[in-house]
């Protein structure tokens, strides 16, 4: 993910994205998906640019986006943790795994750690039910999770973050 923190940069990216889609209402959700993919979340600035370029009002677009669980409206953490809450994961202790992650990170579902390292989501089903309970970090799926395995998984990413931070410095 590039850093497009300035509003100007974001507007440029949104402009670029919209240019690649056919005009028409059917492109709204794919455009929002691409904005989130590139910028990490749907910001008020992005919606304003979208309004200017497509004529779909920001409130209308926001109304559509908030209907779907995929969209987020705050800046996400560097690593996205998705805890599966599917039926198979539920009956095999997924809730305990989630609690342990919340406890270790000190955040609840939907939040981001203060250092911007992790954001935590609960998803309906990752489709790996036979290996339940599962957790995905940045799309990598961890099978047969237990509360005991949580620290090890988190460490993989925390270390990575610290390393790249050192490299940047």
């Amino acid at each position: 993910m590039q850093d497009n923190s300035s509003a100007d940069g974001a507007a440029g990216v949104v402009r670029e994205i919209i240019a690649t889609f056919p005009s028409g209402r059917g492109s709204l959700i794919p455009i929002l998906q691409e904005i989130q993919h590139r910028l990490g979340y749907i910001s008020p600035e992005s919606l304003k640019t979208l309004e200017q370029l497509t004529g779909i009002s920001a409130t209308e677009a926001y109304g559509v986006a908030t209907f779907y669980t995929q969209f987020r409206f705050t800046r996400p953490g560097r690593h996205k943790i998705q805890v599966c809450n599917g039926t198979a994961c539920h009956v095999r202790g997924g809730a305990q795994v989630l609690e342990e992650i919340e406890r270790r990170l000190g955040i609840s579902v939907g939040q981001t750690t203060p250092d911007g390292q992790f954001s935590l989501e609960r998803v309906a089903c990752l489709g790996c039910c036979a290996l339940s309970p599962v957790v995905a970090v940045d799309g990598k799926v961890y099978a047969g999770m237990t509360p005991k395995k949580v620290p090890g998984v988190l460490r993989e990413y925390a270390d990575q973050g610290a390393r790249s931070a050192r490299q940047e410095a």
Binding site: V64, F67, F71, H90, V123, A130
Partner: protein, 637 residues
């Protein structure tokens, strides 16, 4: 047409060379499930060793073969030996198998699930005789796990696009007749006859017409569509071409959930390959049939599995359903006639067109023909993706294919159909799995999620779990669903906390019937099923929760108390360290105590307590404490 046939001849030659040539081949199951189990490490190790030893061998990233519980799985093909399936294998096992099977020329019995031939080989039995495979009939899944889903030649060599060829040589009406005669019913759950739906759409006035593949597999606990899309994407796409031709559609959409990135990638690859082969675009294979395909990513809304909500979502709106009629076959996407089919329905079509309606109807029951895939998961010993003839008894699926309970405990129920389905109790396991029998038992076939529950699963908790889901996913458009699911959930939450009242059960039933009768779409109409079936078959458990404050499965946390036996506690302090609520204290070497005020009933201490002490135990049904809680709730409300 001739171009495709020429391509198939080349593909067959390539496949032949792969299957009997001098090169050894490792087919590694690399679907999402296989990767989660560690397939990447296996592939890396194989590639490293192939290079290190200078072997003439290659690794193929295949889809999911089905028995996910044995993943990572690989099939090894080496000249002079029968193909052999191994699992579970980690990187080290893969390295050893490479040395012994490929370099040493012997099968490795300790990792072998079976040889892929019908007969056993020496002491290694046939894979198809494995208890998990024996009752299965693989039709839709025939290619999953045994081909490279990103190589169209593999699909072509195994009869791919022959169904399309035959369809294009027939009139669209004749294709519809063939599908009608096969008895194929929608595999998304409701079981509407596919051919009939096509007749409506074909007869409907309006052009263009659209075909939509519903790959928004939103049921928690279901992964049949994901496996098929990842393992054999061309089969689904060929099905779309056949359906598109039959109804007279010129454009198709695949609505696939964003949680399935690998499936989306495989579809994109396959669509590009189809264009290269002249299977998409204008005048396909030189006929008058023109058709094109688009992928739309779902954005995470369960209700978009409902046809009219899905259409609204593709149109860029909030995914809210609308009243029917008009049905989508008359007025669907952009107001045009539209047919929506489930992934598995489409996956059946190439086989029906290639082999004929009579072949399809050979298995199954008179009302429910063909096979059905199921995602078998939960407390069962062997989990994975299976395919069985419709009408197979539930008992055979759970006890033979699934191998009974992993815990060795007694099975309690099977949940079918996800949030729209219900729980079938163990005493009804002789039930044949078909649309009508499951419906009569209060559940539904659904898309194929099958979650097995044992004694440790609480049925009230399961009902609460599903209601939490449907309540969150209710779009809010109609009152019965929006308010009714919330009211039911509130009652269920109270019961699981010990705050239930005897009259709650009747009220639950009344609300459930109202929601069922009055909701606008399938989500609301079926949302009460988990509650109604558990009330019907497991009422005693509800009563225990209400009358005794007891959860015998120890699943309803608020009804479970953890205690330390001072006689057994050695004061090691392990429980104190894991307790997230700091509810345990005690001096080192002295028996510890749990503070009831602070305890959050999470059970971490019970899991952590060393087996040598086994000092922590749990109890449920403490009426005195439940009474106090009820009084507190009464005064604060």
């Amino acid at each position: 047409m001739e171009r495709l046939r020429e391509r198939r001849r080349q593909a067959e030659a390539r496949w032949q060379a792969l299957m009997s040539g001098p090169e050894s081949v490792f087919f590694v199951g690399a679907a999402t499930c296989g990767l989660a189990a560690g397939a990447e490490a296996v592939i890396n190790r194989l590639q490293r060793d192939i290079e290190r030893y200078g072997l003439k061998a290659r690794v193929v990233r295949a889809g999911c073969l089905g028995p996910c519980c044995f993943e990572p799985i690989m099939i090894v093909r080496h000249r002079g030996l029968p193909e052999c399936c191994y699992g579970p294998v980690d990187a080290d096992a893969a390295g050893k198998i490479l040395e012994r099977h490929v370099m040493g020329g012997e099968l490795c019995g300790e990792w072998a699930l079976g040889v892929m031939t019908a007969e056993s080989y020496g002491r290694v039995p046939s894979f198809w005789d494995h208890p998990m495979m024996k009752g299965q009939v693989r039709r839709v899944l025939i290619n999953c796990g045994v081909i490279d889903p990103e190589d169209p030649d593999h699909y072509l060599a195994r009869g791919g696009y022959q169904g399309l060829e035959r369809a294009l040589s027939m009139s669209p009406e004749a294709v519809i007749e063939e599908v009608l005669a096969s008895g194929l019913r929608g595999r998304g759950g409701a079981g509407f006859p596919t051919g009939k739906k096509w007749q409506f759409a074909r007869a409907a006035a309006g052009s263009p017409k659209y075909l939509i593949c519903n790959a928004d597999e939103g049921d928690p606990g279901a992964f049949m569509n994901r496996s098929l899309l990842e393992g054999d994407p061309h089969a689904v796409l060929e099905g779309m071409l056949i359906a598109g031709y039959a109804i007279g559609a010129s454009e198709g959409y695949i609505y696939c959930r964003a949680e399935y990135p690998l499936a989306i990638r495989r579809l994109e690859t396959a669509i590009t390959q189809m264009r290269e082969m002249g299977l998409l675009g204008k005048r396909i294979l030189g006929t008058d049939f023109s058709f094109d395909l688009h992928i739309k990513q779902g954005a995470g809304a369960f209700v978009c599995g409902e046809e009219t909500a899905l259409i609204a979502s593709i149109e860029g709106m909030r995914g809210m359903p609308r009243p029917k009629p008009p049905f989508p076959a008359q007025r669907g996407l952009w107001g045009q006639p539209t047919v929506i089919q489930n992934v598995e329905t489409l996956g059946n079509l190439p086989h029906i067109l290639r082999n004929g309606a009579a072949w399809f109807a050979e298995v199954g029951t008179p009302q429910s023909r063909g096979t059905k895939t199921f995602a078998l998961a939960g407390k069962v010993a062997r989990t994975g993706l299976i395919e069985v003839p419709l009408g197979t008894p539930l008992r055979q699926i759970v006890m033979e294919i699934g191998g009974g309970m992993a815990s060795g405990k007694a099975p309690k129920a099977v949940q079918t159909g996800g949030p729209s389905g219900g729980c079938i109790p163990a005493e009804k396991f002789d039930l044949p799995v078909d649309y009508e029998s499951l419906g009569a038992a209060g559940s539904i076939m659904g898309s194929g999620g099958m979650i097995v529950l044992d004694e440790d699963s609480c049925m009230v908790d399961i009902a609460r779990y599903f209601l939490t889901f449907t309540q969150q996913e209710s779009c809010g458009k109609c009152v019965p669903c929006r308010v009714g699911t919330r009211a039911m959930l509130q009652l269920l939450e109270n019961i699981t906390k010990g705050l239930g009242r005897p009259e709650d059960l009747q009220q639950l039933e009344e609300i459930a019937e109202t929601v069922k009768a009055g909701s606008l779409c399938g989500l609301g109409q079926t949302a009460p099923n988990p509650v109604l079936t558990t009330l019907r078959y497991f009422r005693r458990e509800y009563e225990e929760h209400i009358e005794k404050g007891q959860c015998t499965a120890f699943a309803c946390r608020k009804l479970v108390w953890y205690r330390i036996d001072p006689e057994r506690c050695k004061g090691c302090g392990v429980c104190m360290r894991v307790c997230p609520a700091e509810a345990i204290d005690g001096e080192k070497g002295e028996p510890h105590r749990i503070s009831e005020e602070k305890c959050i009933h999470c059970g971490s201490c019970l899991t952590a307590c060393p087996p040598s002490s086994a000092a922590i135990y749990r109890e449920s049904g403490d009426l005195k404490r439940i009474e106090a809680r009820r009084q507190l709730a009464a005064t604060t409300s």
